[in-house]
């Protein structure tokens, strides 16, 4: 089967919207600071640093200190955005995320940049495929995964005002614009229904959302109407939308750029099995990746429209 063309070509790097919005907010609110680990360039913070040199706190290559410092800045009255490559932020500093940020209940926004397999050929050391599972298990930590630039910008604005510990997963892989109403692209805790359908549901997050839309178009050609859910808040999960999808469509396929164990699919399954049991298929990363660029690895793990279509057809017994 040929890959379905995406409705719109992928062209946006969400880090750009992230950095622009953060600078804009910092201009309005002196409490906003960025904390990073020698990641000024990779977090797109060069412009921020130019505009607010004092408020860009680069602790060097020291992730545990980075997260602790952010917690201290919050205790001192600031709103820190920790900007670091997702694998090192969530892996190296996991205990600081748990204790210094979440258990303390501090308004620190942990921005996991370039998550999933975005670093492609650099290999599994630089892939952040466990972060959703790890972060989900931490009490009181919200998880937000924007799907396009409009959502990224809105999510940054929400996070700055929310006053709670948050993990914001900011994609590097280019994405298409998927928000039907860019002016209202993100509501915390709410799932966006991007496409209605009664035959099955595809629930996707982050860079996988545009692939879910492409799969839904292909399924329509094959006579199946797929509902497409954009799960931008992975935690707390919009249980009502999940239960409605399970009851009204009777089958759910999930897709995420992360390990299946404990990620989005697992989160949805926890709701479905309790409130509205329905057959599911969970698509995600299946282990340490071989060498290859991100797009190659998506295809390798079946994280594309074809993979979704195949899972959907199998689930519907076709």
């Amino acid at each position: 089967m040929e890959a379905s063309p995406l409705a719109k070509p992928p062209q946006f790097d969400c880090r750009v919207a992230f950095a622009e919005t953060l600078s804009e907010l910092a201009g309005l609110d002196e409490r906003i600071v960025a904390v990073c680990n020698d990641s000024v360039g990779s977090s797109n913070l060069v412009a921020f640093q130019k505009r607010f040199p004092e408020r860009l706190i680069n602790v060097g290559i020291a992730e545990q200190n980075m997260v602790g410092v952010a917690a201290g800045l919050a205790i001192g009255g600031f709103i820190p955005f920790v900007c670091a490559a997702a694998p090192f932020l969530t892996g190296r500093a996991l205990e600081q995320v748990k204790v210094d940020v979440a258990y303390n209940g501090l308004p620190v926004v942990l921005c996991g940049m370039s998550p999933g397999v975005a670093y492609g050929e650099l290999g599994p050391t630089h892939h952040s495929i466990e972060d959703l599972s790890w972060m989900r298990a931490i009490d009181g930590l919200a998880i937000v995964v924007p799907a396009d630039p409009a959502q990224t910008s809105a999510a940054v604005k929400w996070a700055a005002a929310a006053g709670i510990p948050c993990y914001l997963r900011v994609g590097r892989t280019k994405v298409a614009s998927v928000s039907p109403d860019p002016a209202n692209a993100f509501t915390f805790g709410k799932i966006g229904v991007l496409r209605e359908g009664r035959d099955l549901t595809i629930a996707a997050t982050g860079v996988m959302v545009s692939r879910a839309l492409a799969a839904a178009e292909e399924l329509e050609r094959r006579g199946l109407q797929a509902r497409v859910l954009n799960v931008a808040t992975v935690k707390p999960l919009d249980e009502a939308a999940i239960i409605a999808a399970a009851r009204e469509t009777g089958a759910i396929v999930t897709i995420e750029e992360a390990m299946i164990e404990g990620g989005l699919g697992a989160a949805i399954a926890e709701v479905v099995v309790r409130h509205a049991p329905a057959p599911m298929r969970l698509l995600g990363i299946k282990g340490f990746a071989p060498t290859g660029a991100a797009e190659f690895l998506f295809d390798h793990f079946g994280l594309n429209a074809q993979g979704l279509v195949a899972a959907a057809l199998e689930l519907k017994g076709r």
């Binding site: 200190n65 602790g68 410092v69 201290g72 919050a74 600081q96 210094d100 303390n104």
Partner: protein
């Protein structure tokens, strides 16, 4: 599920009416101040021994070694208002060796953050007074600590915050000596030295013992002062049970550098049969030993 308790004064002050000050007047003469600090330290020691005796749990050795440091800070140095524990201009204090929560709780209660009656709930079901401190439950606790090597990075963040805000409040972090084996401390030490955070003081409770053995037999710390100096810190070595020496070290002007006070202490200080013995890291005194300890701490 039953909900946990929280602890604070019964009538916190409204914002804007806080009085941030040390407990003892800064104008007090040195000998009078030291005498007062000695009294408060003894009260704290008596309380923590009773707490551990009742709970049948705790870290009595480290609690007793850190008591004089805590007493000097909370009664003589820190500018706080117990009735407004989150006043923005307060000094920040972080106990990185969070397992010595009994000493911290006793100090906070005697400083007026909550009633000393509450100390009897130490480690009881649903008590706010957990084995490790929780800022969301206990007024006066600035950061939740327990896993070692977390306090100094948080303190560095606080000190940067005060610099950014051009604020006069200062940050103090008490570290165990054993916990200096955690690498995160040195990430933070490097950061503070690089930034010249002269509004930050780290106090090392140098009792030379860790849970299982002497620090120098486990993973050598010496030459400890040289290590801190190499990271850009101003280092002061003092007797960690001498309130006058501690007060001087904590209040002497700082210029351009963070300060590390290596406070030479005795684990179990004040109770003869506990002093300087490895086995008293978290061993619990018997009821008879509690009585003996309280007699020694009269």
């Amino acid at each position: 599920m039953q909900s946990e308790e929280t602890l604070s004064v019964s009538s916190p002050k409204p914002t804007g009416t806080t009085t941030l000050a040390t407990d003892l007047a800064p104008t007090l003469g040195a000998s009078q101040r030291n005498a007062e600090l000695r009294l408060r330290a003894t009260e704290v020691r008596r309380s923590l021994v009773q707490m551990i005796g009742q709970a049948r749990m705790g870290h009595v050795g480290g609690d007793l070694s850190v008591t004089d440091i805590l007493a000097t800070l909370f009664f003589g140095v820190l500018r706080l208002d117990p009735q407004a524990p989150r006043a923005p201009g307060r000094d920040r204090f972080i106990l990185s060796k969070g397992h010595c929560s009994a000493a911290l709780y006793a100090t906070l209660a005697h400083r007026g953050f909550f009633s000393t009656d509450a100390l009897s709930t130490f480690m009881q079901p649903l008590s706010a007074l957990n084995g490790h401190p929780n800022r969301r439950k206990v007024a006066g606790v600035e950061a939740n600590t327990g896993p070692l090597g977390h306090g100094l990075p948080i303190g560095v963040g606080c000190a940067i915050a005060a610099k950014l805000a051009r604020a006069a409040w200062r940050t103090y972090v008490v570290l165990g000596d054993g916990e200096l084996q955690e690498g995160s401390n040195w990430e933070a030490a490097m950061s503070a030295g690089h930034r010249g955070l002269d509004n930050l003081v780290a106090i090392v409770d140098r009792n030379r013992l860790q849970q299982g053995a002497r620090t120098e037999d486990t993973n050598r710390l010496e030459p400890l002062g040289d290590k801190w100096r190499a990271f850009g810190w101003d280092v002061v070595d003092c007797d960690g049970h001498d309130h006058g020496a501690l007060y001087e070290a904590l209040t002497a002007p700082q210029e351009g550098r963070p300060r590390c006070i290596i406070a030479r202490t005795i684990k179990g200080k004040g109770v003869s049969f506990i002093e300087d013995r490895v086995e008293w890291h978290h061993k619990v005194p018997s009821p008879e030993q509690i009585e003996l300890a309280l007699k020694e701490l009269a």
